[in-house]
């Protein structure tokens, strides 16, 4: 908390960098071993590769059917996140701007559901979604993500909208603008900071989610990245040369996403928590 750079700060800096390197060690292990042959891995997993082999990447690319899995993950994540932004921001705005018993009860219901664990609704949901035709379909899975994500997303928008002044909206409404116009043209742009937070939190959750897509998408060509990865490890258990190349390919998209947008991501998460 001192602003001067003292010997003490230097010592702290060295400790901090050492800790940072320690945090990165797992990535080192995955990266160096992903370009080794299996014999080289089994002999010594810590050393640099004797010869760099890339052919595992090609094979695992096909085994995972990576372009397909990537596209499925992308479609599910993008449409679920975008839809959650639309339905939750609209509902939150209306609930804040319509004070009354009904709004209170509805908001309470949305918030209370945040403590329900996924496992508690999972069993009946499998049956219900089969009868609603939501199984083995990407739009179906997107619809299910709407239902699970709406609680937290609406909660965050609700908290933010309470601090947005409503005078402008009122004068626009006197001038004859309809509520949709007011919301999308005047209110929604003001919600940008919390929209960034919401998009980040939902993207991370949905992109990395495993159990729900595994339950809902049984067909091989509908697999998302985590589901395809789990299938790969089930089939090629202990074939680390394949497994590690797969893990590099599988984590690459989200790591690149993070490195490109890290400023927004870190800021967005901090903003979402300070309520």
């Amino acid at each position: 908390m001192d602003s001067k750079y003292t010997v003490r700060t230097l010592a702290l800096e060295i400790v901090a960098i050492a800790l940072g390197l320690l945090f990165l060690v797992p990535f080192y292990f995955v990266l160096i071993n992903s370009v080794k042959g299996n014999a080289n891995i089994l002999l010594d997993a810590a050393s640099l590769p004797e010869e760099v082999i890339f052919k595992n990447f090609g094979r695992v690319w096909e085994l995972l059917d990576f372009p397909k899995a990537f596209l499925n993950s992308l479609l599910v994540t993008v449409f679920s996140t975008a839809g959650l932004v639309v339905i939750s921001s609209m509902a939150a705005w209306m609930l804040v701007r319509t004070p009354g018993k009904l709004s209170q009860i509805l908001f309470g219901l949305f918030v209370a559901a945040m403590v329900i664990p996924f496992q508690t609704v999972m069993i009946p949901l499998v049956k219900l979604s089969a009868s609603l035709g939501l199984v083995n379909s990407i739009p179906g899975l997107v619809f299910i993500y709407f239902g699970f994500g709406v609680s937290m997303t609406l909660f965050l928008y609700h908290g933010f909208i309470k601090s947005v002044p409503k005078e402008v909206e009122e004068s626009a409404s006197i001038d004859g603008c309809n509520p949709f116009g007011i919301f999308w043209r005047m209110v929604f742009p003001l919600l940008k900071p919390i929209t960034v937070t919401v998009v980040i939190l939902n993207t991370l959750w949905i992109w990395n989610d495993y159990l729900l897509p595994r339950l809902m998408l049984q067909e091989a060509e509908l697999r998302t990245i985590p589901v395809a990865m789990s299938a790969l490890f089930a089939q090629y258990n202990k074939q680390w040369d394949l497994g590690l190349s797969g893990l590099v390919i599988g984590t690459l998209p989200i790591v690149v996403f993070f490195l490109l947008l890290q400023k927004h991501i870190i800021k967005g998460i901090a903003a979402g928590s300070v309520k």
Binding site: M1, M94, A113, P117, L132, S230, F233, L244, T251
Partner: protein, 305 residues
């Protein structure tokens, strides 16, 4: 005022009321519909199923009263064990990841030149989902640690990490802390940046040690961050599934099977949907009680501060 004008006025009043109701429905409806279909209706169905012997396939759903609940607590050793594992794991993992997260935040809140890079580094593991992290660490514990152990001859790395119940427990704790502490760090840093520096300087002039001003001034001031971080890590730890599914598969000998895994196996492997639903309801009650209790407890501290 004549009667015609009055009815006309009533008519317009009713119309605006109706159109207000329609607009309300148009804005709130989509969110409410998905929410009811995906969370509330299955939740209510689950309560009903927990009193039945439904196997998930047959259309005959037989009412068995409280039998499922009695069975869970009296005959199902595996469930009780998975519950004890989850409880122990949650306590240790929440404490450790918050301690590390808060420590990192204190460290990076200072004048370090590398603080922006390090913040990125510490946060990075959080981007990767539990399933993939579990596979990554499975390799590290089995092959990586063995290689380091051979090279360094340190017994810490030569332990049978995932092959032994005790070390497998700590293995999951380590990975959880590695993944979560960077996230918690971000929240703690945001809170620390809101602390008024002049208060700290004043206390320093008055002769307070670093430790004293941390304990008596900083921690009370950022109590809301503790509420949030404890809530987030508590609910993540309690519901752990992906990480131990891919890291240990619940083994060795079911010693690291979490409640979430036990419920999944009961429903989808054993096809006991009724018992699985009863378990999931018990799970819900405990998660709700613990997280709400924690929020109330830490919130009270905020008020006192």
């Amino acid at each position: 005022m004549n009667a015609v004008a009055e009815t006309k006025q009533n008519e317009t009043a009713r119309r605006t009321k109706l159109s207000k109701g329609l607009i309300f429905a148009a804005f709130v409806g989509p969110a409410l519909l998905t929410f009811l279909c995906i969370q509330i209706i299955p939740f209510i169905m689950g309560i009903y199923y927990s009193f039945t012997s439904w196997n998930g396939v047959s259309s005959a759903v037989e009412w068995v009263g409280l039998d499922n609940f009695a069975r869970i607590f009296t005959e199902d050793d595996k469930f009780v064990r998975s519950f004890l594992f989850t409880l122990k794991f949650t306590i240790v993992a929440v404490a450790l990841s918050n301690l590390i997260g808060f420590g990192l935040a204190l460290m990076l809140n200072g004048a370090l030149k590398s603080k922006n890079v390090l913040r990125t580094v510490f946060f990075m593991p959080n981007m990767i989902g539990g399933l993939l992290l579990g596979f990554i660490w499975q390799f590290i514990f089995i092959k990586g640690f063995a290689a380091v152990g051979e090279w360094s001859q340190l017994s810490f790395f030569q332990l049978p990490w995932l092959g032994d119940a005790n070390t497998a427990f700590w293995g999951i704790v380590i990975v959880f802390a590695w993944q979560q502490s960077g996230y918690l760090m971000i929240i703690y840093i945001a809170a620390l940046q809101g602390v008024d520096q002049s208060v700290l300087e004043a206390s320093r002039i008055d002769g307070a040690s670093r430790w004293m001003s941390l304990r008596k001034i900083v921690i009370p001031l950022i109590a809301p961050a503790f509420t949030i971080c404890l809530f987030l890590s508590l609910s993540h730890a309690f519901k752990i599934y992906d990480l131990n599914y891919s890291l240990t598969g619940g083994g060795p000998f079911n010693s690291t099977e979490s409640v979430a895994m036990n419920i999944y196996a009961e429903a989808f492997t054993n096809n006991n949907y009724g018992i699985g639903s009863a378990k999931s309801l018990v799970f819900f009650a405990i998660v709700a009680l613990v997280t709400m209790g924690q929020v109330m407890l830490t919130k009270r501290r905020e008020v006192e501060a």
